[in-house]
Symmetry: C2
Subunit: 154 residues, 2 copies
Amino acid sequence: MQAFQDYYPENLAHCYGCGRNNAQGHQIKTFWDGDETVTHFQPRPEHTAIPGFVYGGLLASLIDCHGTGTAAAAMYRAENRAMDTLPAFRFVTGSLQVSYLKPTPLGPVLEIRGRVKEIKGRKVVVEATVYCAGVATAQGEVIALQMPDTFVAK
Amino acid sequence: MQAFQDYYPENLAHCYGCGRNNAQGHQIKTFWDGDETVTHFQPRPEHTAIPGFVYGGLLASLIDCHGTGTAAAAMYRAENRAMDTLPAFRFVTGSLQVSYLKPTPLGPVLEIRGRVKEIKGRKVVVEATVYCAGVATAQGEVIALQMPDTFVAK
């Protein structure tokens, strides 16, 4: 099964968080699970905040890219289109908010689950929660905006 | 001149964003500039969003650690204490919000400037703006909380 990010256009797949063409990046993969979206990610030892716990900036990054990926998938669903059809949807982040509920232990694979809160015009609002060993440790909201053409470097 | 992060206790200096003891991390360095705080950071080529622009998750991470560093420095100032005096202040992030104002070109050194908005009990609220070549491209707010003892891994 292909992830949302596997459908990103070739020239828009370099994102450090979610681009399959970024060899140094996180290369997250997001899938539908009913009406929710899910990403699994294994933090590396260097993704430390305080020793033993996951770096909050990584959690923010995961929520961010999970959100823009979910936004694209949701827009295809709203239009009853398969993700391999053109024109491709690709979103950027307008705003990102993260609340750290409790320390996230470093070790287990993390699960990020998203829900589409709103689709309006070129905007999709996605709520996401990070779980570690079944416990919600962070939650956030991404306001994703369909990428303006001007954002593409010539 | 030593940066705020140079004063972090040895066992709390492993953060991927700001820990001097994290060889793989960003190791940001933050200083006072009058009543503002300033961090400079050179993104690496892999810190890409769309080709030519900086990854938003990196900007969120920089704002995050700039915020917790500013919070610690502000608390020392509020108590008229030098940063090398004990007990050490170390903050974690309760909440992080980032608004992406415009794409951030990848190439120039970024400047993050912070202002203390509020100090109340164990909480410090810091506003921060990211500048690229003098242009504000992102702004955010960090609610930093003085680290509870329970956060330290035994």
